[in-house]
């Protein structure tokens, strides 16, 4: 049951072989038994989950079920869920019970999916290892000494450890893809604007995008169908026809032109990762794809650009956490400014403070043009690189992360090294392109390696097709650490 695909679970529920309540209880028990080991969940709420499971069973009985009705889904703790503690991995929101549902949560609720718990994450999604969480580091189920990646580390760990059939994540510079790679699962960040950001606590608004994390591309396709869609409450939400993301899964790949950005294969990638990526590309050749070398000349600038723009937006987005209306407020303080200072000093962790400082600096009078404006210009160049490269290929591939999962504590004192974890993922984020990671084997210390798949705008169905065809002929996605 814990290794079953979403489709299999759906069938079992439909055939009444198992009820949603039973399924939910089974996962809750599994979480209870194993979460202390992985620290993948911040909040589990049996009462709320089971209430949803009961509703789901009624929907199934009434013939109102759709594919994910009754299936437990782990929700990243960045999504506001009514009645649930919603912390965003921060002390600042350690007392915040959301009075409303995020659009993503609403969508799952509407189809009768069960919220199985809120997953751990880097504080305010700022991190690549899940070590910045106020609730402690998440552990990688493949090796508890290793980080799960971040910021959606709790979701990745939960899916890898089979504590949830699937999970949601969010990705600003690689926060779905990198933890998916490090935990040996599949994850997709769709085109910017497909998933509503309403109720998804903002880190960097122009980059943040929700997406699913699951065991396989097929599962991702089902999840994505629920998560995407226009939402009038998010001005950056795109008005498009709803899509069936499973529609192209079975298409053969013959003639597929896979672009290999030469900059991604030049240097920086560790040997074990390179080896696994080459093997995956060979598999694609066997499936009938052809490889095309493409170039993304400005992609080496994506990390510096990202670390100007994302903190700039974050510094402003996080201003609302002032201790006035909700969230952490210092116990004792003098005047108003002292209350702000102490509440924020106590409520935010070191990495969040670092980014607020960077962001405040780059937006300051006299520095704005040199940093923020310049970065915006380079962002356009990076985007243009992709537009040009996609004239020569249908899809791009490369490593998701330069290395396999590193050890907890290994990079936490060196922010630059940590930031380089997103070197392959941040460019697609800056361009607003969909990106995906699928497991393709193991590297050093038998830790998972992920293949990064970048699609053109709105080609999620094609990307899922490309991933699914690979998963039909390989079994990396079925490997489980537990």
């Amino acid at each position: 049951m814990f290794n079953a695909s979403l489709k299999q679970l759906s069938t079992q529920l439909a055939e009444k072989k198992i009820s949603s309540v039973e399924l939910t209880k089974a996962f809750l028990q599994r979480i209870e038994a194993r979460n202390t080991e992985y620290n993948a969940f911040i909040t589990v709420n049996e009462e709320l989950s089971l209430a949803q499971a009961q509703v789901a069973d009624q929907m199934i009985a009434a013939g109102q079920a759709s594919q994910l009705t009754g299936i437990p889904i782990a929700q990243k703790d960045i999504f506001c869920a009514k009645g649930w503690l919603t912390t965003c991995g921060s002390k600042m929101l350690s007392n915040f019970v959301s009075p409303y549902d995020a659009n993503v949560i609403e969508r799952f609720n509407q189809i009768g999916a069960v919220n199985i718990g809120k997953t751990n994450m880097d504080e305010f999604a700022m991190g690549s290892s899940n070590e910045t969480s106020y609730y402690g580091p998440v552990r990688n189920p493949w090796d508890v000494e290793a980080v799960p990646g971040g910021s959606s580390g709790g979701s990745a760990s939960a899916v890898a450890a089979r504590l949830a059939p699937a999970a949601t994540g969010t990705d600003t510079g690689g926060s779905i893809r990198q933890p998916a790679a490090l935990c040996g699962i599949s994850g997709i960040k769709p085109t910017y604007g497909l998933v509503s950001r309403y109720g998804m606590i903002a880190f960097a608004s122009s980059l943040d995008q929700g997406g699913p994390m699951a065991k396989s591309a097929e599962d991702l396709a089902l999840m994505l169908g629920v998560m995407t869609g226009f939402d009038a409450r998010d001005s950056t939400s795109l008005q498009r026809e709803t899509e069936d993301y499973t529609r192209d899964l079975e298409k053969p790949l013959s003639g597929l032109r896979i672009g290999l950005p030469k900059e991604y294969f030049a240097k920086g990638m560790s040997k074990d990762v390179e080896c696994a990526v080459e093997q995956a590309l060979d598999e694609y050749r066997k499936l009938g794809a052809e490889m095309v070398e493409v170039s993304l000349p400005n992609s080496q600038l994506s990390i510096p650009v990202y670390y100007v723009l994302a903190p700039a937006e974050a510094s402003s987005n996080l201003s609302r956490f002032d201790g006035v209306r909700y969230g952490h407020r210092a116990k004792s303080y003098g005047d108003l400014n002292d209350m702000y200072r102490k509440s924020r000093a106590e409520g935010f962790g070191a990495e969040v403070k670092r980014r607020i400082l960077i962001g405040t600096y780059v937006l300051s009078h006299g520095y704005y043009d040199a940093y923020y404006i310049k970065a915006q210009k380079v962002r356009r160049l990076i985007t243009q690189d992709f537009v040009d490269a996609f004239k020569q290929c249908d899809i791009m591939m490369g490593p998701t992360s330069p290395t396999v999962a590193f050890n907890i504590g290994e990079k936490s004192s060196d922010p630059i090294q940590m930031y380089l974890s997103d070197i392959y993922t941040s460019a697609a984020s800056l361009a607003g392109l969909p990106g995906m990671s699928i497991p393709i084997g193991f590297g050093d210390k038998n830790r998972p390696v992920g293949l990064h798949i970048i699609g053109n705008y709105f080609t999620e169905a094609k990307m899922l097709n490309v991933a699914h065809q690979y998963q039909l002929v390989t079994d990396w996605h079925q490997r489980s650490p537990v």
């Binding site: 009075p99 409450r233 402003s316 209306r325």
Partner: protein, 479 residues
């Protein structure tokens, strides 16, 4: 030394939308604190702004009314600062690319017309209110007002006196009400002005250091604050001092301005484009539609009154000070097409005076243009005198005889004697009874004539048509 005062004005006009600029909450005035606040207004984690199209529509209308350029796209930017009544920790405003750029407004000071150029007008959200009095040792926050749509309208430093500043503010006030984008209620803060004031030696081309006086919510305060501030600055400079650029507050009780914060204390607002809101694009077709929906503007009416109706610039300005007054005037004029001056005098005189006295708006005027026209046409055809008309007007105002002018004239016996025969008879009687004065007049004492007129009028109990009496007397005396 002769000093010149230089003034620029920033006005915050609250727009007449039903809901807030980025959320669906009501903006109705006077509700219980925090009852008009939703998740977006409270800036809960994860919420996002969605622009109210009604606010954009009103901004575009203002732009069209002042002949400005409508920018498309325009950009919403975040102005970052911390304050408890600013829930997000930033205000959404427009910075580098405002929705309205340029344009001008013509103002009238006496018979002189002057053009005030606008720099820009941009959309932004209002902040909430901090209440410091009602809570011991604490402050209360009311976020009902947070997110109320404002249009900030900024002029060039084109004004040279408090009188010009007030004329501008009144003209703008009338315009925003005229086109229906603002209710103009100054007590409720729907229309508030900040004045940038500097002084310089007369003849100098360079601007002096300016001080900004915030939140002037009446025309009188605007005038007094500018007068005080200009005097203060001149005194400082004449004493050999220099002006510090700063923001000042006007204290109406003491009639003075005081430092609020100096430029050094000013925040670095770290403006940047709001990534939650896309650049605002406005279709030309929509602009055309809004252009067609605008009423005839006060400037156009003013020009028409001067050229077509022959009214003075002053009269035209007064009549167009509010759309309702102009409409009343035109409804009246429609019934008395050749009597523009008479209509203007009555609207500006009796009607306005009476409305002011009773503190009611012209829309609540008890006398309709048709009723007034009936009265004025009786002056015109000589049925009653101007003086009698005022009596009739008073009766009409009081609602007597269904405000029917003719009925009132009859009932009060106010009809003039306009019959030549009757007047001749009166004149003959007076001439016969006043032989001495007739002789005086004939011997060159002009004054005697007036006395004779008075006698005739007295004999007629004030009802004789004065022009006819004059003419008849002249005729008889020169015979």
């Amino acid at each position: 030394m002769q000093w010149e005062i230089v003034i620029g004005i920033e006005t915050h006009a609250q727009l007449t939308t039903q809901s807030k600029i980025f959320s669906g909450s009501s903006i109705a005035y006077g509700a219980m604190p925090n009852t008009q606040t939703n998740a977006v207004d409270l800036a809960l984690p994860g919420v996002l702004p969605v622009l109210n199209q009604g606010a954009v529509e009103r901004a575009v209308k203002l732009g069209l009314a002042v002949g400005a350029k409508i920018n498309s796209p325009s950009i919403f930017a975040r102005k970052n600062y911390f304050y408890p009544d600013l829930p997000k920790g930033y205000q959404i405003s427009q910075y580098e690319l405002p929705i309205v750029e340029g344009g001008s407004i013509k103002i009238q000071i006496g018979e002189t017309e002057k053009t005030v150029h606008l720099t820009r007008a941009h959309l932004e959200e209002d902040a909430g209110k901090s209440l410091h009095e009602d809570f011991q040792g604490m402050s209360g926050i009311d976020l009902n007002r947070a997110g109320t749509p404002l249009l900030e309208i900024v002029t060039e430093p084109d004004m040279r006196s408090s009188a010009e500043a007030v004329a501008y503010a009144k003209t703008l006030h009338s315009l925003v009400c005229w086109i229906g984008i603002c209710d103009g209620n100054m007590q409720e803060g729907s229309f508030r002005c900040d004045a940038n004031v500097s002084v310089r030696p007369k003849g100098s081309e360079t601007l002096g250091t300016r001080c900004e006086i915030k939140n002037l919510n009446s025309f009188r305060f605007l005038e007094k604050a500018i007068d005080f501030e200009a005097r203060r600055q001149i005194e400082v400079l004449e004493d050999g001092g220099s002006i510090r650029q700063e923001t000042r507050l006007y204290d109406a009780n003491k009639d003075e301005t005081r430092t609020m914060r100096s430029k050094e204390d000013a925040n670095d607002y770290r403006y940047f484009p709001d990534p939650d809101l896309l650049p605002l694009e406005i279709a030309d077709s929509w602009i055309d539609q809004l252009k067609d929906s605008l009423p005839e503007l006060p400037e156009a009416r003013r020009a028409r009154y001067i050229t077509d109706l022959g009214l003075s610039a002053y009269d035209a300005a007064v009549l167009t000070s509010a759309r309702e007054i102009a409409d009343y005037f035109e409804n009246l004029l429609e019934l008395l097409p050749d009597q523009a001056k008479l209509c203007a005098n009555w609207v500006m005189g009796e009607i306005s005076g009476r409305l002011n006295k009773e503190a009611i708006e012209i829309t609540a005027c008890p006398i309709t243009p048709a009723q007034l026209a009936a009265l004025l046409s009786r002056i015109n055809d000589g049925t009653i005198s101007g003086k009698a008309a005022k009596t009739v007007f008073e009766s009409m105002w009081q609602g007597e005889l269904e405000r029917n002018a003719d009925a009132i004239i009859d009932a009060k016996g106010l009809k003039q004697i306009s019959d030549d025969g009757a007047i001749e008879q009166l004149v003959d009687e007076v001439l016969a009874a006043n032989a001495q004065q007739v002789a005086d007049y004939r011997s060159g004492k002009e004054k005697a004539f007036n006395s004779l007129v008075g006698q005739v009028m007295k004999a007629a109990k004030g009802k004789a048509n004065p022009a006819q009496v004059n003419a008849m007397l002249k005729k008889k005396l020169s015979a």
